[in-house]
Symmetry: C2
Subunit: 339 residues, 2 copies
């Protein structure tokens, strides 16, 4: 059972042509039962499986999906991959994962690398670098070449393609409204820079919720943190220098950081300070107290994106359909960090 066996080898073994072997293995009615039997038996015994690369070249499709994500170690994006992988495998596709590491350049290189025939389509979420730069030529180029792209979560209006996002604005709006309804007045916001599409939307949701409830937005209570896993100094400044009875963090990391800093200052959640985060991940469950969060349904986003992409690849009807933007509903998961 050394080395993979090929049609050629089987054909030589029985002194027939490669075509005959190929057809016999596909159980073609063109071939005699007897020939089929011996060839099939032999192939089975030797674990023959057609070579994927040869099939890809022949069929002009690879059955590979290219995934480009900013990072993968944290809950949201890893759950997205989990969702994509499940649906893809189910439909007979493999998943090639590239990580842009929040860098524009790596995102471009990754796309170009995969676009040279390795995959049939892309699922991607913009890196911070790309959102900052607002340069999407690499994505447009790939789309121009006829390769479908599905953007998820961090998307842009500048590119026309299928998209899967959550209702960032509404999710934030609901969270902040909940804080207000439970009597909080001085609600701080820990967000990302405005060039980040999701940070921007969540910030807008926060503002709108305050306005709709007759609370004036106090810009001193809003901080925007560049590093997704940093910001502790700014947050500490915020909590030390201002009266804050609630914090809405646009990521679960920001929320838990705020909670820990508040705890160090002797404040306890939810009594002294209410906390809500975004992304219902491990952090939210493991923190003490556990965190109320806006769930982001990463797996659902991944599955939906893979579904859209594969439909476009396979279903002839889908080919010329207009692009859609699927909006996954978020929900507020109430835990111990709020009353």
């Amino acid at each position: 059972m050394r080395q993979k066996i090929t049609l050629k080898e089987i054909s030589r073994r029985f002194n027939v042509s490669i075509s005959t072997v190929s057809k016999a293995l596909k159980d073609s009615p063109e071939i005699s039962e007897k020939t089929k039997e011996i060839i099939q038996a032999f192939a089975k015994e030797h674990h023959y499986k057609p070579n994927n690369i040869a099939l890809s070249l022949k069929n002009q499709k690879t059955k590979n999906l290219g995934i480009i994500l900013p990072e993968i170690v944290h809950y949201f994006f890893s759950s997205v991959i989990t969702g994509i992988e499940r649906l893809a495998t189910e439909k007979g596709y493999n998943v090639i994962v590239c990580i842009s590491n929040e860098s524009f350049d790596k995102e471009v290189i990754n796309m170009q690398m995969l676009a040279n025939g390795s995959i049939d389509g892309f699922i991607m979420s913009l890196s911070m670098g790309t959102e900052n730069k607002q340069d999407f030529h690499h994505i447009k180029e790939v789309i121009n070449q006829g390769m479908p792209v599905v953007m998820i979560d961090r998307v842009t209006d500048q590119v026309e393609c299928d998209k899967v996002i959550i209702d960032d604005f509404q999710g934030a709006y609901n969270a902040v409204t909940y804080l207000i309804e439970s009597g909080r007045k001085n609600i701080a916001l820990i967000s990302m820079p405005d060039y980040m599409s999701v940070g921007n939307l969540r910030t807008q949701g926060y503002r709108k919720a305050l306005e709709d409830n007759g609370i004036e937005v106090d810009d001193n209570l809003i901080v925007k943190v560049e590093d997704p896993y940093g910001g502790s100094e700014v947050i500490e400044d915020l909590l030390v220098n201002h009266t804050v009875d609630a914090v809405f963090g646009v990521t679960e990391f920001f929320a838990v950081s705020a909670m820990k800093i508040a705890q160090k200052m002797g404040k306890s959640a939810p009594e002294d300070i209410s906390i809500i985060g975004f992304t219902d991940g491990i952090i939210s469950i493991s923190s003490s107290p556990s965190l109320t969060t806006v769930s982001q349904g990463g797996e659902e986003i991944g599955e939906k994106a893979a579904d859209l992409l594969i439909k476009r690849l396979e279903d002839p009807d889908y080919e010329n359909r207009p692009f859609v933007t699927e909006i996954i509903k978020s929900s507020l998961v109430k835990r111990e960090s709020t009353l």
Copy 2:
């Protein structure tokens, strides 16, 4: 700039042969400067890049690495992928990720799917199902076909191949010794079933540390949890019904669960109860108090595994070298949950 352009199209455009175009684009000395110039200019203008699939078929190598992991949403394995991806991209390889979801059957299917020519080699960690079943024929088969495999973290003696693991025994030994040195006497262990290689080794490290310090192992203080993200009832039982002044969890999730349950019972860490986990991930940092853990160096494992695999694929000297087992050193990261 529609559709990808091929050598054939370029050759037609200039009425030359495909061979000439191919050579011209490789800047072959066989071709005249003038021809090279015009062809290269045209190719550049049209963003010509050779088709990866065609190259794969021709070269009999795909430049793809197949990765099969039990899951990916939690810190350890996602950091492993991050490490693999970084090294792989650096060396010009892509990474195809499959998730076995802890199931033997899925692991087998994934391997067979990728082994049909899609990849040049595997990096894998055993699913719980496989460890339980102790059936490794799918891995041996792939190796027999001449495809290199690197096993990481959850490995087995039954398969001969390169391996990258951490010093599970020693890491556990050091953690428990640290608890003993800080004066703890009743140290509970929350582990996995014994068929899990890493759980088993960590359990042994725990036992040995107690023995070496003249503390008798009390089997009542040892629980083995099947579900990696469950076990709260058993842990509660343990803490309620026994005197426990320290807990060593073989995962960070087990450790934080124990801590939260202890807190609910009115005990506080580290004063009443010391806690140490395994895997230095987000949970450990985000919990309150933050968790002392045995760091597992996921990215380092990933990088090392990718390095071993690529070396075996590329370096002719490596081909017949004996298999190696790289042991990554763990370290005890001290935080607030211990004194």
